[in-house]
């Protein structure tokens, strides 16, 4: 199978899988509803007004996180990098919790807080972008620890009722996104297009910054673009769904194991694969103990880890 050589075939295959997964995810829930033949107006409402937006949000957020993860991994030259590694999630959480203190019971305020917080985090990271990969990573990790400390401080001051809400947000929650679905899908598409456009430069960056530069890549400029893109996409994903771990770390590696490391294939497959994984995780999270829900971050890890380890072992 040489899907990685033919982008259109790769995209077609992933669109097929995504359609199938979306179809199943539409059907399952507290009650099974046949998406092709809903039996009442109520069921129509549940399908198209409740389940579909949530599924598409999961798809877009999962894809964005996987793309951002792939970008951060090549930008920092470190396979352990993930979207939250430079502290963007931490600063977003600080923003969300601050908003919670000022405007309790407003999910919109919380999203706004997360968004603003994420951009404060990005600004902090961007000011270190002139550093080399290792130092940038170090700066990001230290910044993340700083945001973590502030978060702990705020959490200690938070009333108990808000505390549960804050925890839920931090473990990822796709049920209450206040960003419209179409805007998330648009960002997903734009991010993927930027990624594919940059893919040859990104491939060269895999050889290290000096090799990339010697091969004609404007490394400083690429780093800045990449840092901005990856952070912006992360900020939007976090705003929509809180912090969902694991997708951004594991999906790009999963796709490298399946399709090799050239970025055109990695980015296309990550954008779809991350989305599909998150739909599966979220569908499981909302059905397995329904009507209650599990945090989706728990499920991403529980589904992603076995698949990843299996592929890793098979390769060895």
């Amino acid at each position: 199978m040489k899907l990685q050589k033919n982008e259109l075939l790769l995209i077609a295959a992933f669109v097929g899988i995504a359609m199938f997964v979306i179809f199943i995810a539409l059907g399952v829930g507290e009650h099974w509803i046949n998406p092709l033949n809903p039996s009442s107006d109520m069921e129509v409402l549940i399908l198209w007004e409740i389940r579909l937006p949530r599924i598409l949000t999961a798809f877009a957020v999962g894809g964005m996180l996987a793309l951002a993860g792939a970008w951060f991994q090549v930008l920092l030259g470190n396979p352990l990098a993930e979207p939250y590694v430079l502290g963007v999630a931490g600063s977003a959480a600080v923003g969300a919790v601050s908003a919670m203190m000022l405007f309790p019971d407003s999910t919109l305020a919380m999203s706004m807080g997360a968004f603003i917080g994420a951009w404060v985090g990005i600004a902090a990271v961007l000011s270190f972008s002139f550093l080399g990969a290792t130092r940038l990573l170090l700066a990001g990790v230290v910044l993340a620890a700083f945001w973590g400390a502030i978060l702990m401080l705020l959490m200690a001051l938070l009333p108990e009722r808000s505390l549960m809400l804050a925890y839920a947000w931090m473990m990822g929650d796709l049920s209450s996104s206040s960003l419209p679905v179409w805007s998330l899908l648009l960002v997903w598409l734009l991010a993927l297009m930027c990624g594919v456009f940059l893919s040859l430069s990104l491939d060269k960056l895999l050889l290290g910054e000096r090799h990339a530069e010697a091969l004609g890549v404007h490394v400083q400029r690429l780093r800045l673009i990449l840092l901005f893109l990856a952070s912006a996409v992360t900020a939007i994903a976090v705003t929509a769904a809180g912090t969902i771990g694991f997708v951004g770390l594991v999906v790009p590696h999963l796709m490298r194991l399946l399709f090799g490391s050239l970025h055109k294939a990695v980015l296309i497959s990550s954008a779809f694969g991350g989305g599909i994984l998150l739909i599966m995780a979220d569908t499981t999270a909302r059905t397995i103990i329904s009507p209650a829900e599990l945090p989706v971050g728990v499920l991403t890890a529980m589904i992603g880890v076995p698949i990843f380890l299996y592929l890793l072992l098979r390769r060895a």
């Binding site: 491939d203 060269k204 895999l206 050889l207 290290g208 090799h211 010697a214 490298r256 090799g260 490391s261």
Partner: protein, 242 residues
């Protein structure tokens, strides 16, 4: 064609060398010698505009290197430097294709064959030994059809046979019309290929001259602080008692 005028390089506060002037032509092999930390690798970076000159200028065809675009420079200079990282699982074939900039399947085939890598094309870089990865880097230099090769210790990690292949390649390619500037540490290898020797003494001094006049005990002993014996192509350091 490559003209170094009164060049000084500085890393941090340390002056690597000062006032280096040299003119290099197509068809020459220039060997850069000097102790560790003298600025040999940095010189290779500066030549292709990837390290700032503290003073002086480097010109390619009468125009300062700094005025060329990154893209253009990448079509003039080929750089063989550190082994690229292997964490992300690039294969040998993919790595060569990145240097070849597409459309040159034949040049990749030739390079694979010359560096004896035919059987390794589909293997990931991380699965290879350092010597094999070094051969991939030499092959990557070959697939990029540029007039100037900047080679940073091309024979490092290589076994004897591939060292010979590599040096033969350098000699042949310079005859075919390239300028090759190579950092080497082995005197025999230097003597075998060098037309011109550029000596950085590690104390700020830089000297250029034809190989015969540069590769002498009198010149090299004080710089490397070793005892040398023999002459010409047999010049070698003294180990132990004799």
């Amino acid at each position: 064609m490559l003209d170094i005028q009164d060049l000084s390089l500085r890393r941090g506060n340390k002056i690597l060398f000062e006032s280096l002037s040299a003119q290099m032509q197509v068809g020459q092999v220039v060997v850069v010698l000097g102790p560790n930390g003298a600025g040999k690798s940095t010189l290779l970076l500066a030549l292709q505009g990837m390290f700032p000159c503290a003073n002086g200028e480097i010109q390619y065809q009468q125009k300062p290197v700094s005025t060329y675009s990154r893209q253009t420079l990448s079509r003039i200079f080929t750089w063989q430097g550190d082994l690229p990282p292997s964490e992300f699982g690039l294969t040998v074939g993919q790595r060569l294709a990145l240097s070849a900039d597409a459309k040159t399947r034949q040049s990749i085939e030739d390079a694979l064959q010359y560096m004896d890598l035919g059987l390794l094309e589909q293997r990931a870089l991380g699965e290879l030994s350092s010597g094999e990865r070094q051969r991939v880097e030499i092959a990557a230099t070959m697939v990029r059809d540029n007039p100037i090769w900047l080679m940073d210790e091309p024979t490092a990690h290589l076994d004897m046979r591939h060292q010979v292949d590599c040096l033969r390649l350098i000699k042949q390619q310079s005859k075919d019309g390239r300028l090759i500037i190579a950092v080497l540490h082995d005197l025999q290898q230097a003597a075998g290929v060098a037309d011109v020797v550029l000596l950085l003494d590690g104390l700020g001094g830089a000297t250029v001259g034809d190989a015969a006049s540069m590769l002498t005990a009198a010149r090299l002993e004080p710089v490397f602080q070793v005892k040398l014996t023999g002459q010409g192509k047999d010049l070698r350091p003294v180990y132990g008692e004799n």
